[in-house]
């Protein structure tokens, strides 16, 4: 039950953030893991507050590029280098994590670390983790939140 609620909150966070700031409505969502993703970009950040943990976000190279273009208000034909795409994906992870934590009704404030590109192997799996994949017009975006304490 808790897992379902958490997954639902992840989806709600994705809908709000992606529609408001990336002009990328969520078309559908499903459980993690996503469909096959080519050349995924993975970013993660840590949060500390009433609970602490890790929030990770993964997207294929093309959906990540499309999200970055949408965020920066650029045309689809314009060029963005990989670092710029990672920065935008990191900003998206920051907003998704903040929105997700905001839905948990904690009274204390929280701190988010600067998002960084990570490898799948480096992600921690301690504590309880919850995942959700959302589908956008440009492809899939997967979120995982691991709550350590």
């Amino acid at each position: 039950m808790i897992a379902e609620q958490m997954a639902s909150k992840l989806r709600d966070a994705a809908s709000s953030v992606l529609e408001m700031m990336f002009a990328a409505p969520v078309l559908a969502d499903q459980e993690f893991p996503p469909a096959d993703v080519t050349g995924p970009i993975l970013v993660a950040l840590e949060f500390v507050g009433q609970v602490k943990g890790t929030f990770a976000l993964a997207a294929g190279a093309e959906p990540a590029r499309q999200l970055a273009l949408g965020f920066m208000g650029m045309n689809t034909s314009e060029h963005l280098d990989r670092q710029q795409v990672i920065e935008v994906l990191g900003e998206l992870a920051n907003m998704l994590c903040g929105h997700f934590l905001g839905q948990l009704n904690y009274h204390e404030s929280f701190q988010l670390s600067t998002p960084k590109e990570v490898t799948l192997e480096s992600l921690t799996h301690e504590g309880h983790s919850y995942q959700r994949t959302v589908h956008l017009e440009s492809g899939a975006l997967s979120m995982q939140v691991a709550i350590h304490a």
């Binding site: 709000s16 953030v17 408001m20 700031m21 970055a68 965020f71 920066m72 208000g73 710029q84 920065e87 935008v88 990191g90 900003e91 920051n94 907003m95 994590c97 903040g98 929105h99 934590l101 905001g102 904690y106 009274h107 204390e108 404030s109 929280f110 701190q111 988010l112 670390s113 600067t114």
Partner: protein, 125 residues
């Protein structure tokens, strides 16, 4: 009144976005400068005539809370209105931002209209 804005955020993408939103807002913008953390923000403020600050909170070197604390402690800067940008709209955070002396806060995610509304509210206060 023409606005000379300082945007402080460690995310280059967010700085680009905020500058674009402000530039297209229809607000009377004269100039927009940016800085990547509080240290750089203070340097900009001491060398340019800024009359509105938009700042992130979580930043390396000097975070947004310390930056605003130092702005409000400086008699030459303390009158500049500050809007803090946060992903955390918990009661504790909002209370702390008010105690710091920030005149407003903007919670991410936001739309261009929300940014404009916040700036207009501050200008007419």
């Amino acid at each position: 009144m023409s606005l000379r804005v300082l945007v402080v955020d460690d995310s280059p993408a967010m700085r680009v976005l905020l500058k674009k939103i402000l530039g297209l807002s229809g607000l009377p913008i004269e100039n927009i400068l940016d800085a990547s953390d509080g240290v750089e923000g203070l340097t900009r403020l001491r060398s340019h005539p800024i009359n509105l600050i938009l700042t992130d909170i979580n930043m390396p070197n000097m975070d947004g809370e310390e930056f605003v604390r130092q702005v409000k402690a400086d008699k030459n800067l303390r009158e500049i209105p500050v809007i803090m940008i946060t992903t955390d709209n918990s009661t504790a955070r909002v209370l702390r931002l008010r105690q710091l002396g920030a005149q407003g806060y903007l919670c991410k995610p936001f739309t261009p209209a929300m940014v404009k509304e916040k700036v207009l509210a501050l200008m007419s206060a």
